[in-house]
């Protein structure tokens, strides 16, 4: 912090700005050109007023600045402090300066970051106070990436909120009020703003009326009114939380609120009444801690992963959530990828798998992938190659047990009798199936055949006993992969022998 160094810095900076000034013809980021004030003390119109202690200092400085500003062209700054403050005031009205000198400092402008104007301590006297220079232009403020405060609430809005706060919240109304249509419970379809105040009738009255109508309707339809009410209450509570964003999503995008309230209820009819899934060996899944469920994959559309997920959630005493690992094509596809993430799936990558295991999650993989779902009907229940065994390596690395899972029935929901490979290439998908119903019946062909399903979870295969570097041993990984594959294949054959018919 020697004085000569300071002078050198000042000189360097001065030169830098001189350089800039010379290049002024090429506009630099919309900055205003630097202008040295021709005359007059520059401290007057500076935006941030100096506090009283430094005010006297400013006055003293201004003379030096004035002296220096005349010599800027020589670029020999005699004063230590002159060059770092480039006097770029555009409105150097000397009257303003005089006024500023006469009056105490003006109140600070309400700028975003109010600097604490500390009086210069004598110890740091060598440091020029960064009296920078130009008035804050609105342009500069925007360019600095800062939002200046906008009016928070309109007066009307404020009045509305006050009134809403004063209003007694629940008012029991007469059930004779005719039911009025509720506004659509979707913020996307916002109604035209109604003028002034709360435009709607009291919500409580509406609701009472609606509940009355609902009870009547339920009685007419012969359903217990309480059930209907419970259902409606659930839906409304769900919608309220969705509209306000009041739900949590974990790092992988799993949204338990959506999964419990929308996804599983949508699948349950399919699970219970369409496929009549029978689950065996659910006790083989651990109640807590990480585990890897490995299952066969089939059925053209991957309904089996959803059914296994629901089976684990509904049948397991701990109601665990299986975190399925999916191909990247799944997450690339609109809607499908979003729903997959929300329901707990994530990308089939070893990083994600190991992260899930570390968190003690139950992970499900379908290592056959598209080879399994897209195989022709003639090859049903013949397991395809099990990928590259990455799932086994991940389980080995974290020492979690592997639970083999065999799904019978999924092969028959949409038997593949052909593949439109040209169309598949065009669409960039692995296959476009031809089933007995699919292209022929149009959208009706998408309805899966109601086969009877059996899902059996086998004995867990422990991986914790191996030495630390076991996941790096390819031979061990292949052996384990084969063992899992054989177990599933044998279980599949056994289940097929026990099955009376495809549909019953």
């Amino acid at each position: 912090m020697a004085t000569p160094r300071r002078g050198a810095l000042a000189a360097g900076a001065d030169r830098a700005s001189g350089e800039r000034a010379r290049r002024r013809s090429t506009p630099l980021l919309g900055a205003d050109p630097v202008e040295t004030a021709p005359d007059g003390p520059p401290s007057g119109p500076t935006p941030v007023p100096a506090p009283p202690p430094s005010g006297s200092a400013t006055g003293a400085d201004s003379t030096t600045t004035k002296a220096a500003s005349k010599r800027t062209t020589t670029r020999k700054a005699p004063s230590r402090k002159t060059s770092t403050r480039k006097v770029t005031t555009r409105k150097t009205a000397s009257s303003t300066a005089a006024k500023a000198a006469a009056t105490p400092p003006a109140p600070p402008r309400t700028t975003a970051v109010t600097p604490a104007p500390a009086p210069e301590p004598p110890a740091r006297k060598h440091r020029p106070s960064p009296r920078v220079t130009s008035a804050p232009q609105p342009r500069a403020t925007t360019q600095a990436g800062e939002r200046t405060g906008r009016p928070r609430l309109s007066p009307r809005e404020k009045a509305r909120r006050d009134e809403a706060a004063r209003r007694p919240h629940l008012r029991l109304a007469q059930p004779a009020v005719p039911p009025v249509d509720l506004p659509p419970p979707d913020p996307a379809v916002a109604d035209a703003p109604s003028p002034g105040g709360l435009p709607l009738p009291d919500p409580a009255e509406l609701v009472e009326a609606l509940v009355g109508a609902l009870r009547l309707g339920a009685q007419l339809a012969g359903v217990a009114p309480e059930d209907v009410e419970a259902r409606v209450a659930q839906v409304l509570a769900y919608l309220r939380r969705r509209v306000e964003g009041e739900y949590d999503v974990d790092d992988f995008g799993f949204d338990p609120h959506f999964t419990e309230n929308v996804f599983y209820p949508m699948l349950r009819p399919l699970y219970r009444h369409w496929f009549r899934v029978e689950v065996r060996g659910i006790e083989n899944l651990p109640t807590t801690g990480g585990a890897l469920v490995v299952a066969n994959h089939s059925g053209t559309v991957a309904l089996d992963s959803l059914m296994v997920q629901l089976a684990i959630h509904d049948e397991h005493p701990a109601h665990r959530t299986m975190r399925a690992l999916g191909a990247d094509l799944v997450f690339q596809t609109p809607f499908v990828g979003t729903i997959a993430r929300r329901s707990g799936s994530t990308l089939a990558a070893s990083e994600d798998a190991e992260r899930l295991f570390r968190r003690g999650e139950l992970v499900g993989v379908f290592p056959e992938g598209f080879k399994g779902t897209g195989k022709p009907f003639s090859e049903r229940y013949k397991l395809q190659r099990f990928g590259r065994g990455g799932f086994v390596a991940a389980a080995l690395a974290q020492g979690v047990p592997i639970v083999p899972c065999s799904v019978v029935g999924a092969e028959e929901i949409a038997p593949i009798i052909g593949n439109m490979s040209t169309l598949a290439r065009l669409l960039g998908v692995p296959y476009v199936p031809v089933t007995p119903t699919f292209p022929w019946l149009g959208p009706l062909g998408l309805v899966p055949l109601p086969s009877k399903w059996i899902i059996e979870f086998g004995e867990p295969i422990e991986t914790a006993g191996h030495e630390p570097g076991a996941a790096e041993d390819p031979m061990l990984v292949f052996d384990l992969t084969d063992q899992v594959r054989e177990t599933i294949q044998q279980t599949l054959y056994t289940l097929l022998m026990q099955r009376r018919s495809v549909f019953f």
């Binding site: 500069a140 600095a144 609109p334």
Partner: protein, 349 residues
């Protein structure tokens, strides 16, 4: 530790805040701020030098001040603030090159802190759920800020190779958000109707502006080296964020997003570069283990709290949206309460 600190990009919001905080640090004797435009308001305790980091003159500033810690804050994420994509790229890439060249020549510079961005990881459907510092982009960003950030980090790595004695710390920040800062993300969520990619609901991570500054102060005065991700805990999805901001959504197909983005950009509403769109479609998450264990930094705001802090100030752009939203949620809340009460009464009978 740090004696003389040089802060580039000091006239921008975060740069100015950081410079002021550093000036108040007891271990910092002097703070020199550099930018091409003067700061919007005076920064207490900071010497401002008007210099362009794209110019070799920056070397003389470093030399004259005897700078030993350089904090590079001048990697600009939002092209609208600097007058377009071309100057943005020039400032980011050429500026970093010149700055690092000057640092390399300097005898005094011991430490370099670079404010980089999580944009280096890109945004694709093939991404792992959370990126650690050792992972790279699955598909490198083809242009825009992400590509700039990758190039900036490339130069930083080159500098590290040529100056093995210097301590180098690169901080990869998630999107910075907060009540005051203005970025392309805040512009986006301030739109009266928020267009979202149809069929996607990306996970996003944010870091509060205060946390961002705290992390940078810690990085400038500490001795951690390497690359560190900085993000608030947890994620927020796009739909959730829009709901929290109290705005209606307008789903548009990703294919039409380019046209739409061009339109909003031309109208000056918000910046929609292609990598911005893919971020909104596929999202990104950062693993912050190293932030806690290596840097020793604990953010005060979670992602959700950071976004809520922004949403509280964003106000309602459409006058009716708030009313309708409140009404709907109010009706739903009252309805569920009433129904549950009626149920309770029913079962009591």
């Amino acid at each position: 530790m740090a004696g003389v600190v040089l802060v580039t990009g000091v006239s921008r919001y975060l740069g100015g805040l950081l410079a002021r905080r550093l000036a108040a640090e007891p271990s910092v004797t002097r703070v020199v701020g550099v930018d091409v435009i003067p700061p919007p308001q005076e920064i207490a305790g900071v010497e401002f030098v008007r210099a362009d980091i794209r110019n070799p003159m920056i070397g003389r500033v470093i030399e004259d001040a005897g700078v030993d810690t350089v904090v590079h804050m001048n990697v600009i994420a939002t092209p609208t603030f600097v007058g377009g994509r071309t100057p943005q790229k020039e400032i980011n890439v050429i500026g970093t090159m010149q700055l690092l060249a000057a640092c390399q020549k300097s005898r005094t510079v011991r430490r370099l802190v670079v404010k980089s961005s999580a944009a280096v990881y890109g945004s694709t459907p093939r991404d792992p759920a959370l990126f650690t510092e050792d992972m790279g982009a699955r598909r490198s960003p083809s242009g825009g800020f992400g590509k700039d950030s990758i190039e900036v980090e490339g130069y930083v790595r080159g500098f590290a190779r040529r100056r093995p004695d210097a301590e180098i710390l690169t901080l990869r920040f998630a999107n910075v958000i907060g009540p005051r800062i203005r970025t392309s993300i805040t512009d986006y969520f301030s739109l009266p109707v928020v267009p979202v990619p149809l069929g996607y609901d990306a996970r996003m991570q944010f870091v509060h502006e205060d946390d961002c500054i705290d992390a940078l102060v810690l990085a400038s005065t500490g001795s951690t080296t390497g690359v560190v991700n900085v993000a608030g805990d947890g994620v927020v999805t796009v739909y959730q964020a829009v709901a929290m901001a109290g705005r209606p959504v307008l789903p548009i197909p990703l294919q039409g997003a380019g046209f739409f983005g061009g339109m909003t950009r031309r109208l000056g509403l918000a910046d929609f570069s292609p990598d911005q769109m893919s971020f909104l479609a596929f999202g990104r998450g950062l693993d912050t283990t190293r932030m806690r264990e290596g840097l020793g930094f604990e953010p005060r705001f979670t992602t959700r709290e950071a976004f809520a802090a922004f949403a509280a100030t964003a106000g309602s752009a459409v006058p009716g949206a708030q009313v309708v939203g409140d009404a709907v949620s109010g009706v739903a809340g009252v309805a569920s309460q009433t129904v549950l009460r009626a149920l309770g009464a029913g079962s009591g009978r």
